[in-house]
């Protein structure tokens, strides 16, 4: 009996604290796979966000710093400048990156910091229990948009890839999803690309991953996958928004 595929070495074999069906778990495994493949675990410094991924240090075996809410790009900027030879991964949720941390991500992107960003867009604030995020869809009910998000007063969901694409120093921007096996495989390729770019000194690269938060959305995991397919993909088209190589 040979093992063909199992838990990547860089990540924990213990259970995570993520809810059943949470997309963070899939992304975690993809990171583990890419880190193993590129052999960068010992060169890697990860910035964990405030959000459900806050305890990433319990899940990935590398140096980790837990950042204040929204500030991972500022923290990462400093770390990368202190250690330009190290690999710096910025991991952020949509509340973290697109609400409180909007200024920090824009400026890190605009400065063209040579960092890799994984932006987990699950259209809600998972950790605090399912409030409206900047990426919450129109009509989507959350605990702070109980009748569904409306354009009037709350605005439309922010499309982060499109926004950052206007900044010249962003080098690679792709939106992917993890709602299907095929899309998960594409997400892995995008993560690889975004990592490789930093290793090659290309500059600021980000993958935005549309991800399930069944608990925040208050639906069973299977319906969460369908929600991405049927609702999110329309508003957040997948694809490469920038590739300047």
């Amino acid at each position: 009996m040979n093992i063909i595929k199992t838990q990547p070495k860089s990540i924990t074999t213990d259970s995570t604290k993520y809810c059943p069906g949470c997309g963070h778990g899939i992304i975690l495994r993809l990171i583990g796979e890419v880190v193993d493949e590129l052999g960068i675990r010992e060169r890697m410094i990860l910035t964990a966000p405030v959000g459900c991924a806050v305890v990433l240090y319990d899940y990935i075996f590398c140096d980790v710093v837990e950042c204040a809410h929204g500030r991972a790009p500022a923290v990462g900027t400093a770390i990368k400048r202190v250690h330009p030879d190290k690999f710096v991964l910025i991991y952020q949720g949509d509340g973290d990156l697109a609400a409180i941390g909007m200024a920090e991500i824009i400026h890190a992107a605009n400065r063209g910091e040579n960092m890799s960003v994984i932006f987990v867009n699950n259209a809600t604030y998972g950790m605090t229990g399912g409030q409206m995020a900047p990426t919450t869809l129109i009509g989507q009910k959350t605990t702070t948009s109980p009748s569904g998000r409306t354009v009037k007063g709350m605005g439309k969901p922010i499309r982060v890839c499109e926004l950052l694409a206007t900044l010249e120093e962003t080098k690679y921007l792709e939106r992917t999803s993890i709602n299907s096996v095929r899309n998960i495989n594409k997400t892995k390729a995008a993560i690889r690309k975004v990592f490789q770019n930093q290793l090659n000194g290309i500059g600021f690269s980000m993958v935005e991953v549309l991800s399930m938060c069944p608990v925040g959305w208050k639906v069973p995991p299977i319906e969460a996958v369908q929600f991405i397919e049927e609702q999110m993909l329309n508003y957040f088209p997948l694809g490469v928004y920038k590739d300047t190589e």
């Binding site: 259970s15 604290k17 993520y18 809810c19 806050v54 998972g126 950790m127 605090t128 229990g129």
Partner: protein, 182 residues
């Protein structure tokens, strides 16, 4: 048990309706004219683990909202049993969901254990989610801390907030649980 403060622990995993039972109890106390104070272990910023609610009921003013040693408990699953059983005052009634706790494998304890096959019964009733109210019914019968009428009144108010229709199946669940205890 009704002359001193009753401190109830309700524990299970998220989704088993632990907090709901706490709310029902609190409403029932309003109906019964008793003082009550409830604390749920609230939506942790990080997911996972067991859920728990602590409810104090008294005819007098309730001071500390912090309960160190509950003197009554409803326990919905095995991990909660293991985690909390030692915090409960020895000799206190502990209503356990025997559908999910195998007492043969469970640690020995000095409590007045009452087994209720709640989850299996609830599945048979057609809604696994009412297991918590089955347990509540059993607890009320066992302890007599509140009149059943107060509890059903409390349930009316608790379910009024959410979907009203849910009241009926829960009322049946409560009665069933109540009747399970001799």
């Amino acid at each position: 048990m009704s002359d001193k403060e009753i401190n109830i622990l309700i524990a299970g995993f998220g989704g088993q309706g632990v907090i709901l039972v706490g709310n029902v109890l609190a409403y029932s106390c309003i109906d019964a004219g008793k003082n009550v104070c409830a604390m749920a272990s609230y939506g942790a910023e990080v997911r996972g683990g067991t859920a728990k609610a602590l409810i104090s009921i008294s005819d007098y003013e309730i001071d500390s909202p912090i309960i160190e040693r509950p003197n009554l408990a409803i326990i919905m699953n095995a991990p909660s049993f293991i985690k909390y059983i030692d915090t409960i005052l020895p000799g206190s009634p502990v209503i356990i969901n025997s559908s999910m706790i195998d007492m043969d494998k469970a640690p020995k304890s000095k409590h007045d254990i009452v087994k209720v096959d709640a989850t299996n019964f609830a599945i048979r009733m057609g809604n696994i989610k009412v297991a918590n109210i089955v347990m509540l019914g059993a607890m009320i019968k066992k302890t007599g801390i509140l009149e059943p009428q107060s509890v059903t009144n409390g349930m009316k108010r608790a379910f009024y907030k959410g979907k009203k229709g849910l009241y009926y199946i829960n009322e049946s669940a409560f009665k069933a649980g109540y009747d399970m205890i001799a």
